[in-house]
């Protein structure tokens, strides 16, 4: 079999002299590097992120809000010493804001500055004003053109329309951007690409096919406890595990909006500021509104938590 290593093959296609080595040696190394940046990963997260880097494929992360999708990309960027380029998606995002735009004012100035010219000079002038000098790079093109290692984060991809997704396809599979006036701009390194989605709509098959997929769910009790301990200064181990348990129980209930990890952290910080070392029923009832944002959820949770048997 003549199958090449995925990174080498991509490097060949991009015309690079040598394939850049993967950023991380193993899932464990990745996991440790992330822990050093205060991001506690689970084995599944570490493995999939490692694979995305190893196979040079974009990583699509889906899951409920506030489970650390964006934070993962940031932590990976920090851990690998790469620059983070972020494209926040929204409805109505277009080529000019995502890829590139011609600096039209500067082009006008250029034409005026060189004075009135004959028709015969037109083609020369045209090639002049459609050169790199007049190109405004937007996040996607910037990530491709960067000579230093980058991590590209395309945040909340589910917010753009289905048609706009197509803008990304070339970058995601080929790591290149075609500009009609200039030709194709190819990456000079292999950027690591993260896409996040809150799953408010189904992404297109074409996009999904090009990515690895990671579903980030709420952490389990042990991991959440560790997250609290590492992110909230001054919290005791016992309090942290108690908090994690309460939050875990809340998530099992049928609520409109389950508490996210960031809300858990807010709650923990508040308890620390209040100087409480232990959770008791009254305290939970008083501060539950930090976790739950709907009145009906709040009432339901209070009722359930004061009823021992659950049913």
């Amino acid at each position: 079999m003549s199958a090449l290593d995925p990174r080498e093959e991509l490097a060949q296609r991009l015309g690079l002299s040598a394939a850049p080595a993967p950023r991380f040696e193993s899932p464990e190394a990745l996991s440790q590097a992330l822990t050093a940046r205060d991001y506690l990963s689970s084995p599944a997260i570490a493995s999939v992120t490692y694979l995305a880097d190893r196979l040079a494929k974009p990583l699509l992360i889906e899951g409920p809000a506030g489970t650390g999708k964006t934070a993962l990309a940031k932590a990976v960027a920090e851990a690998s010493g790469a620059r983070l380029i972020r494209l926040q998606c929204y409805e109505g995002l277009d080529e000019a804001k995502a890829l590139y735009e011609w600096n039209y004012r500067k082009q006008l100035l250029r034409i005026q500055a060189s004075g009135a010219a004959g028709v015969d000079q037109w083609s020369e002038r045209e090639s002049d004003i459609f050169s790199e000098e007049f190109l405004l790079t937007r996040p996607l093109l910037e990530a491709i053109r960067s000579t230093k290692p980058v991590v590209l984060l395309i945040d909340e991809i589910d917010r753009v329309e289905l048609e706009t997704e197509a803008l990304l396809l070339e970058i995601l599979s080929e790591y290149q951007v075609s500009i009609p006036e200039l030709g194709t701009v190819k990456a000079t390194q292999i950027p690591m690409v993260f896409l996040t989605s809150n799953n408010t709509r189904e992404l297109s098959e074409a996009l999904k096919r090009r990515c690895l997929y990671l579903y980030l769910d709420y952490p389990d009790v042990a991991r959440e406890r560790d997250i609290i301990v590492s992110r909230v200064p001054g919290v005791s181990e016992a309090l942290a595990s108690h908090i994690a348990q309460v939050v875990h129980s809340l998530r099992q209930m049928d609520l409109k909006k389950a508490p996210s990890v960031s809300e858990t952290l807010d709650w923990a910080r508040t308890l620390v500021v209040l100087g409480r070392a232990e959770l008791d029923d009254a305290l939970v009832n008083e501060t539950l509104h930090l976790l739950l944002k709907y009145q009906s959820d709040l009432e339901k949770a209070m009722r359930a938590l004061s009823r021992p048997t659950g049913a």
Binding site: P27, P43, S47, R209, Y213, Q295, A304, S306
Partner: protein, 462 residues
Amino acid sequence: MLDLLGGFIAELRTAGLPVSLGEHVDAARALESIDLGDRELFRAALRATLVKRGEHLAAFDRLFTLYFAPRLATPEPEPDDEPHVTAATTTRAPAGGQSSGELRDEMLAAMMANDGAGLQAGARQAVDRYAGIEKGRPVGAAYYLYRTLRHLDVDGLASELEAAFTPENASPLEARLAHDQAVEAIDGLRDALEQEILSQLVDDRGVEAMAEATRRPLPEDVDVMQANREELANLEKALVPLGRKLAARLAQKRRKRRRGPVDVRRTIRESLSTGGVPLDIRFRPPHPVKPDIVVMADMSGSVASFARFTLLLVHALNDEFTRVRSFVFVDGVDEVSHLFEACDDPTEAADRIANEANMVVADGHSDYGRVVEQFADRYLATLQPRSTLLILGDARNNYHLARSEAFAAITRRVKRVYWLNPEPQGYWRSGDSVLGEYAPYCDDVLECRTLRQLETFVMGLS
């Protein structure tokens, strides 16, 4: 390896997961570039390359366990004619000398310490000892699971665990947490046992046979009429995100819809710059038309669960419609819109319907004829010419009169009428079904048995 992967992917496809050829290649390449000894990495590689939807992960995990479970090192050499408890323990089980009480204590300790490996080892012994798996007997895994759980006295275990987790003088909160913890630990035990049983059965019957025997439809393909309690609970959980997703899509669709009529004023004003020639035609922004929905749901036993889902979904999309009015019926009809308006949570409203709606007037068997007559009598005047009427039911009339003339009168008052029938299309118009008499007055009669079909229908509505 590639053959095994191919078989695995074929099975994923049979289970309904859309795995493309490209993804197959990706998976193979991923396996080539990792260390196959690392089980977690191996699993992550397949999961990340083959599954692209959160809802499909459960199906993937189930099949992965079947195909790539850590096998027992040596298949049992002795013919085990008499599947006796003691025989099984002596031939296997490294720590065979334990009494059953010790085994149970060990598992209890493993569960309390949240020790996965210990639990798995315990589960293996428990299955060897209690399940009494007989080679070649086509008995489902559920039966063995039940036997093992009964021998382990799972209810006793649960209360012991709960007691162990509960501190002294526990407050209600602490008691609740202990309870939740115990429930979770028992779920863990159940999973461990099931996995063990499955892997032993796979050794016996082969992967393909087991995959076929344990094949389950994806959540969106579950037939609502035939779903068991667990599947129904899962379906209801899936409804909330589905509602949210549909709402987002409907809103987007509405915003993008064709532009409105020509704006003459702006077009003329614009034309001044081109010497009065209207080069650029200007349009008014589109006027969003939200449909007005009236739902009539049959709540009689046979189709109640389906009606409940549809009501929940329609009300979850409340904002996407001008107005939603709901009626429920068995042999009488009653309006329940106020229940949904009063409750913040549609689920709660749906729960209250059974107690508070006045939908039985005679014997409690569906009587569509009486219902349409009553409806025409009481509510006809409240129907709007722009309404869309949805009728949910199987049209099984228990041989009562259909009274299609009353139905026709109702349908004339509204813009569109759709009949959603949870029965398979093949059964329609057979037996006591009166669908044939109503169908001519409906714009469409649709088979709607799964969440997927329901989703497609709702998307087409606006």
